[in-house]
């Protein structure tokens, strides 16, 4: 907040010109910048994926050398996880949480500005490593030591710096979200009246502030190994490469839930809106989300079944992982029960939400299979795993973001998007994603390891099909960009509540949203 008396806010708009975006402390501006930034990163990470799929279109060196291929897989993973999916959810949180809880803005607006504006610099540093001598990070997004320390390229220190900045941004964003939800709810907005998107983000923010410092510690240890000749992860100096993996996955497993819990919140808003029926089992949704978050701290070593753990540890991590299926199942059953007895229509946000439920569940099934330790010996580090996490991340997290964007776009812009084009986008994405990733299950079961630029001939057919699906999916995202820009520029005027069954405080506000909202708290029914 500025020194200007509070009453003035309603009368002054944003600063003019580009400077507005640099100095803004407005949650809508910052939310929009997060979303645009994440979309830019989605296209960049997608372009890297296109290089990967083009190389794998057929066996042999067809396009790039293995060194560059490894940089592409690494950068694709890092950019999609830290640059596309996470900032998109933070953007949606910034934009929507104050509106959903009846708050005028985020609790810490200047921190909000800072947490966004350090991100572009982090990714500038990360992407610039591709042009450095020795190339960029080439050790996979999991950057296992000693490949990333003793054997890493010189640019690894810049990678560490970039990761530190991203982590700082995430921690600041998470603190801001927790403080906002805790303190700024309108009178009458009790805990169990909060929309599920707010609930899931509150829990996600706690996960973030718990695991991001672990990541920061891990990459600091790497930095010391590289520059100060310590031996945290160097076996020759008495360290252990396995320590790296334990720390990484203690961060990494909650991290994957950080990327999916807000998605559950979005889907829990959209399905009731288009089924015109209240969400089934609201309370159990909240408890299930909390249960998943707590369990996520006890399952990390299921990523490490092949490293050679004692039998008891193997059994513990297998069982704890399987238990996660229970709260996740509860969520899926609740969504289906919400549809039963409803009065459904299938606008674009609903199409994405339904595709999310089906395809995320398929990803959950393969996840359950991967949890079974003895069978995981055959699945581990193959394309079966690649198929699994792409099913939960692409038609899971990414589809939920797209569903949310289509759902709230009329509210943000004041215009309806082009329904026909958006349906084309949906079907192209849906077909593309399945053609790209479903055959990867077969490749993994037949024995194709992940992260290889070249493969034996028996894998040629499905790789070609997978690449074609990936190209279709990539192409359809350019259509998405066109639809969104077209909607921002103009279109049919949107009503305050463009979706008949939509519930929530945001729909009481006019479309497009005024620059300042809820300066006096709304009345909660």
């Amino acid at each position: 907040m500025t020194a200007i008396p509070h009453d003035d806010h309603a009368h002054h708009g944003p600063a003019t010109g580009l400077w507005r975006w640099v100095v803004t402390t407005n949650h809508k501006d910052i939310g929009a910048m997060y979303l645009w930034f994440s979309f830019a990163m989605f296209l960049l990470g997608g372009a890297f994926a296109m290089v990967i799929r083009a190389e794998l279109f057929q066996p042999g060196f067809s396009l790039v050398e293995p060194e560059f291929f490894n940089q592409m897989t690494t950068m694709h993973g890092l950019i999609m996880v830290f640059g596309a999916v996470m900032p998109a959810f933070v953007g949606l949180a910034n934009y929507m949480i104050p509106l959903m809880i009846g708050a005028p803005d985020m609790a810490l607006p200047r921190l909000n500005n800072l947490s966004f504006w350090i991100l572009p610099f982090a990714f500038l540093i990360l992407v610039s490593t591709l042009f450095m001598a020795g190339g960029g990070p080439n050790f996979g997004w999991t950057f296992y030591a000693p490949l990333s320390t003793t054997y890493g390229p010189p640019s690894t220190v810049f990678f560490i710096l970039a990761m530190h900045i991203m982590g700082a941004s995430s921690i600041m964003g998470a603190i801001n979200i927790i403080v906002t939800i805790w303190n700024m709810r309108a009178p009458g907005m009790t805990w169990m009246k909060m929309p599920l998107f707010v609930w899931t983000w509150l829990i996600t923010a706690f996960l973030l502030i718990m695991v991001m410092p672990v990541l920061a510690g891990l990459i600091t240890m790497m930095l010391l190994d590289i520059t100060a000749q310590t031996s945290f992860f160097n076996a020759a100096g008495g360290g252990s490469p396995l320590l790296f993996q334990h720390l990484f996955w203690f961060f990494g497993h909650p991290e994957v839930y950080i990327m999916i819990l807000p998605a559950f919140g979005i889907i829990s808003a959209i399905i009731p809106a288009f089924a015109r029926k209240p969400l089934f089992g609201y309370a159990s949704m909240v408890y299930a989300t909390a249960a998943i978050a707590i369990l996520s701290f006890f399952v990390w070593a299921h990523h490490m079944f092949t490293v050679g753990m004692p039998f008891a540890a193997q059994l513990f991590f297998m069982i704890s992982t399987m238990i996660i299926a229970v709260p996740t199942g509860v969520k899926v059953f609740n969504w289906v029960a919400t549809m039963i007895g409803g009065s459904m229509t299938f606008e674009v946000p609903m199409l994405f939400a339904i595709a999310f439920v089906v395809l995320f569940t398929i990803g959950g099934f393969s996840g359950l299979m991967l949890a079974i330790a003895p069978v995981d010996y055959q699945y581990h580090d193959t394309y079966f795993v690649v198929a699994h996490f792409h099913y939960v991340l692409v038609p899971g997290a990414v589809f939920s973001i797209m569903a949310g964007v289509y759902y709230w776009l009329p509210k943000w812009t004041g215009h309806m998007f082009h329904e026909g084009l958006a349906k084309v986008h949906f079907w192209m994405s849906f077909i593309g994603v399945n053609v790209a990733f479903f055959p990867q299950h077969f490749l993994g079961l037949a024995g194709m390891p992940r992260r290889i630029p070249d493969y034996p001939l028996q894998f040629a057919n499905f790789n070609m099909i997978s690449s074609m699906g990936a190209f279709l999916f990539g192409l359809s995202q350019l259509l998405f960009m066109f639809i969104v820009i077209k909607c921002v520029m103009g279109g049919k005027k949107a009503e305050a509540k463009p979706w008949e069954g939509a519930e929530g405080l945001e729909w009481d506000l006019p479309s497009p949203l005024p620059y300042h909202t809820f300066e006096t708290p709304p009345k909660i029914k």
Partner: protein
């Protein structure tokens, strides 16, 4: 609705076509895990199929109910929305049933896991050492002179990779010196690495064990059928990660003894068993030279 479903059915046609194609035993269309040639790999396969069937049944039920709801409760068909949004009995039911199913999965999984961890007394112990980017195999013995050790590197020529020559059948799956072990004999593998982490994976044995510098992992296999079995390094290990395959030749025990004796340079033993070497020339071909 038909219009909307068309892409679904298209997808179904494509995948049915793929299924049919694969049943015709066409190479390159494998859809499923290999059963393998050890008791453990076959047990892993059964467990995999059990899991697959269970998730498929759950999927059909859940998606079936969902698509039924999508057809029945459509606004365009005049469905009026209900207002119910809770049912404690139902919610308890769909928490407990999955728990029971999970226990049903965990029991056979634990039995198999215990079997994998139960290392038998092995007559032969092979140390597997991962390097960037080749494997070193050492047959441990009581005295250093009796130890046999050699490197196993990719044999696929560079011009095949570069696409300057037609690719052979075992493109990227051929090595200069395969690992040789006897059939129907417990063999112990001690797996470690010299530089970065690798992973030694032979799908037909049901073994995938990370080769970690500074740590010695243990695994074992009793292969039921002689033959040639191929695998690849399964942990990203740098530039040539895709180019360090694993080839294991499994011989009848007596042929293996013959081979091991030859490797030890024990000429007398080799001459004595000359006849065996000739009859199995196909299998031991790469070692005669």
């Amino acid at each position: 609705m038909l219009k909307r479903l068309r892409p679904f059915s298209l997808l179904a046609v494509v995948f049915t076509a793929l299924m049919v194609a694969s049943s015709g035993a066409l190479a390159g269309w494998e859809l499923n895990m290999r059963q393998g040639v050890t008791e453990i790999s076959q047990e892993i396969y059964s467990l995999h199929m059990l899991m697959l069937y269970i998730v498929c049944i759950i999927g059909v039920l859940v998606f079936g109910v969902m698509f039924w709801a999508m057809f029945k409760y459509r606004k365009s068909k005049g469905a009026k929305p209900a207002t119910w949004h809770e049912n404690t009995r139902l919610e308890v039911l769909w928490t407990v049933i999955p728990l029971v199913i999970l226990i049903g999965m965990a029991v056979p999984a634990t039995v198999t896991l215990a079997k994998i961890y139960d290392t038998p007394d092995a007559d032969i112990t092979v140390k597997v050492n991962g390097y960037q980017w080749r494997w070193e195999y050492t047959y441990l013995a009581d005295t250093p002179e009796e130890e046999v050790s050699f490197f196993s590197s990719l044999a696929t020529p560079r011009f095949e990779i570069r696409g300057e020559a037609p690719r052979s059948e075992f493109y990227l799956l051929d090595v200069d010196n395969p690992l040789v072990i006897p059939a129907n004999t417990p063999v112990k593998f001690l797996i470690t690495a010299n530089d970065v982490i690798h992973s030694w994976w032979v799908p037909d044995f049901g073994i995938k064990k990370d080769a970690v510098p500074g740590i010695i992992n243990e695994s074992h296999a009793t292969v039921l059928e002689p033959g040639t079995y191929r695998g690849m390094c399964a942990e990203l290990c740098g530039r040539d990660h895709a180019y360090m395959p694993i080839v294991v030749e499994v011989l009848e025990p007596e042929e293996f003894e013959q081979w091991l004796a030859e490797q030890r340079g024990d000429v007398a033993a080799a001459e004595q068993d000359d006849s065996v070497a000739l009859t199995s020339a196909g299998q031991v071909r790469s070692f005669i030279q």
